[in-house]
Amino acid sequence: MLWETVRLAFRAIIRNKLRSFLTVLGVVIGVASVIAMVTVGQGSSAQVSANVASLGTNVLILRPGKQTMGPGPRDNATPFTLRDADALSTLSAAAAVAPTANTSATVVAGSANRATQVTGTTAGYLAATNWPLVTGRNFSEAEERAAAPVCIIAETVRKSLFGATDPVGQPMRVKSVSCTVIGLLAPKGTGSFGQDQDDLVLMPIRTVQKRLEGNDDVERITVALRKSVTAERGIRDIAALMRDRRRIGIGQEDDFSVTNMAEVASMLTSINSVLTGLLSSVAAVSLLVGGIGIMNIMLVSVTERTREIGIRLAVGATSAQVLTQFLVEAVVLSILGGTIGIALGLGLAFAAAQFMAIPFAPQAGVIALAFCFSAVIGVVFGFFPARRAARLDPIDALRHQ
């Protein structure tokens, strides 16, 4: 009997395609946005986790200038020097130390060229950032001391300059400096702020300072701590050393900052989950609105179909049968809408994942939940109109124009 009623509901739905479509539109949009939000949110969480892993744990970053949040101009504190980095590497807490000097430059190989970021650093950089080479080798101590014209390139630069050819051993020009490619970094992907981390050329720091920048400045120092050392102790040791080296008196504030990358990572993770939650709850509200839309149109439909209900009552339908019919119709409609919404939401999430270069992470649990929820919406918002239909007086209903 229930199967029969479901079949009749399908018949009624197909009979009024436009009305049915408008009825479910709200649920379709609601379910689609919830699914899309949650799926994209999960994808970007996975991306953030991957970034956290690629940052390496226990990495501290030193910058001159007082602690500020995010990018923006820093105060004119004295830059670090390579001697600061050497001093830091003597600390027992430090596993690897990498001073860096950054500049942007056009790099040329053959007829191809690209504007990219050039980072001058030391051999310790790869260990400090937990970034392996695919082919080639790291800088040698001799190259670092001599400011040799050698460079290690990352994936994006390789693609646009060398294409299919093996870049190792190839000549390349950075601004006006001719150099040789000695290594290729493993692809790292999109960073936490959406930047391309693989758009990068590494050179020995002295090469950048002397040949490109013309100064001795070190902009930041990355310190990887030993596994056994806590971040708190690392920060304390480093701060003490730097205060001493930069001659900061007691009672004076630090003129440098130490950023714990693990903290940044956890901050990013929590921002991400807050954003996902926020967007999902907005989407959930639209699902509720979609449910109210179903109720609205079902109510109109009951009024519009008063005569039909009268006919059904006259030929012997009980009010329970009329109630069941309208309720089943509402549930079938909203499940239909939910299913379309799930497909649409997954499609949107897939497109967004491609566009934002994050993993596509459909959640079986969320899909099942959205499906059940749309059925529940059908029952809840279909009940009131169905009850109204069931309570109609057959004589009035038949007389209704």
Binding site: R307, L313, G316, L398
Partner: protein, 234 residues
Amino acid sequence: MTAPPLIDLSAVTRSYGKGEAEVRALDGVNLAIAKGEFVAIMGPSGSGKSTAMNIIGCLDRPSSGTYRFKGAELQALGNDQRALIRRNYLGFIFQGFNLLPRTTALENVELPLIYKGLPPEARLPLARAALEKVGLSGREAHDPAQLSGGQQQRVAIARALAGNPSVILADEPTGNLDSHRSHEIMQLLQTLNRDEGITIVMVTHEEDIAAYASRLIVFTDGRITRDETTGGRT
């Protein structure tokens, strides 16, 4: 001791409103209709003939008095029990046909059988047979909109027949039809009455339509003012 009449109203009153505004649509009606009769009910509008039909058709309840159907008292039954009476013993034909729009003739005729709980394999032959009886074989898949008024009314008659009713209640069945179609419909009803033994109670305000019945009842101001046996036009 003869069998009790099929339909038996005694001292039936139906009033609307309360106190000063009370209107008595039916005022102490006594009416007995035997199985196999073809009764025409006439009367000016507001005379109570439609109210009487609604009570006979179990769509309405008398305010006082008793209504016996096949000897059983119905006046106290609830909505759902009256729905069961309609489903199992009564068929309705209306002036405006009252077919479900955008629904084929066959599906319209199936409707009462669905509520009887018959599975498709049982109800489809019954619905086809009913359509055949009213001369609409081959039109099963037509929508009401694709059928003429006369054909629509035939579908409605088939729907009333499908449930194998004891009584067909016809409320101005020819009110929306031209005179040619009207007479065709009346001949069909007469045939069903004669050959199938179905009791027919019909409300009309046209003398020549009423002439098809074998008994004429006239209502005036909520009372029966005339009740006579007629020949039954052929």
